[in-house]
Point group: C2
Chain length 271, copies 2
């Protein structure tokens, strides 16, 4: 083991930016006694359009920042890193377990579907990488995956336009094709999308089950900690320790939108 861990050790979570806060919120809700350390690489966001070499270097940096806190596990809340650099994180973590949003969302979707038709929405980079479809098909080769990039959902979520008529029109455009292809399960394959969940639900046929990868990873985290006897039963609910590589003006507004509470102290970390 790379360092000694106890049930009281923190859980480290990172993302390319602030989207991973939906993962922090879901883990906190599922496991309120756990200490959480979050790093958002806000100086270098977005990772999606960058080259794989660059993304792998960034993933190593992000992991190193969290490892200073001797976490008992690492959650990769970034779909791009989950898809293209998961092995880099695993290597840097030694025997500390690592889980990623991509596989957690894919697993839960495969468990949920009854007709083996799963939809996936995400950023252009995530959808083009085909990582969700590949992961779902490794878990169940019989399942058909229908993917759709929804590039405006991130800026709409960040602007807090969670019930604007324009967002409804754009959601209707993006999600129309899922009516025709008869999916019964839709994966929100981007950590920003839970913010728009209500509009997505209202747009889709009500029979479609929505898989929020933030919730999926929270479930998986609980399972893993239980299995390894590392669940913290004595901790007290505390704000996550937040680190970012740049502090954008809108950070405090977005934190409130994503987390539903005021921004606590934030540590600025150089990358």
């Amino acid at each position: 083991m790379s360092h000694k861990v106890t049930p009281e050790s923190p859980i480290g979570i990172f993302d390319s930016g602030i989207g991973g806060l939906t993962v922090v919120k879901a883990v906190q809700a599922a496991l309120p006694q756990e200490k959480i350390i979050y790093f958002g690489d806000t100086a270098r966001v977005p990772y999606g359009p960058k080259s794989q070499v660059t993304i792998r270097k960034y993933a190593a940096d992000d992991t190193a920042i969290l490892m200073r806190y001797q976490p008992k596990m690492i959650i990769v809340a970034c779909n791009t890193v989950s898809a293209l650099a998961f092995d880099v994180v695993e290597k840097a973590c030694g025997t500390i377990p690592v889980i990623g949003v991509l596989k957690a969302g894919a697993r839960l979707a495969v468990q949920a579907t009854k007709n083996n038709r799963i939809g996936v929405i995400g950023t252009q980079a995530t959808i083009c990488s085909n990582a969700y479809a590949a992961t779902i098909n490794r878990l169940d080769p019989e399942t058909q995956v229908f993917s759709k990039a929804c590039p405006l959902f991130v800026p709409l979520a960040e602007e807090g336009m969670i019930d604007h008529p324009a967002t409804k029109l754009i959601a209707a455009d993006y999600l129309r094709e899922f009516e025709a292809n008869g999916i019964d399960t839709l994966v929100l394959g981007c950590t920003h999308y839970p913010i728009l969940r209500r509009i997505i639900e209202e747009t889709l046929c009500p029979a479609i089950r929505i898989i929020d990868s933030a919730e999926a990873i929270a479930l998986r985290t609980r399972e893993l900690l239980e299995e390894s006897g590392m669940l913290n039963n004595t901790g007290e609910h505390a704000s996550p320790h937040l680190m970012v590589s740049d502090l954008p003006q809108k950070f405090s507004r977005i934190y409130k939108l994503f987390m539903g509470s005021e921004l606590p102290d934030v540590e600025l970390v150089e990358v």
Copy 2:
């Protein structure tokens, strides 16, 4: 002079990303005989939310990349650099003249307004910097400036949603306040916005004059080259020489949207 220039020397243009292509298009239309070298720092876009120290370093890098081509002038097509690091570019250029979108747009707006009430729209970072208002007020302290950030216009332009009903709803929301404050001139203070010009015009009262900072800088470029005897009267119309620091998947689609022609060869430059 930092290097010997002739009328045949190229014009160097840079931006933090691809928005500056609207400037390339406007300069090309106004001065079809000029050679244009463009650098878009697509690996490090957006500059707006970054710290001033970082932006100044990037501005120096961008200028150095263009200076390798011994240009006769440099156009700063990036509003953030125009606002926060113009002096860095000037210093790196020696006696080569430098002009920026911000001042060119502000000058033309001040010339155009009859009632001394000017509106400015731009990204969150540009509007928060207050740079347009400050520049307009240095040119004419009597003019009142009304500024509004329109953060969704960049992603809507990049998605090519130039006549989507959702874009109309969002434009109506953003531009509503300009009805009340009686402006007669509106500056498009972001190089992406000319892509949405038609929707912006349809949303505003028809009497409002729109100042496209890309067109403003093309006019200013012609003036400067004429004054200095550096106008190229013998060159042949050619595609711009394009350099980027990363090649996003959507680059070719966006190039076509911005320039109205197929993407020529692009050189990848390390930053």
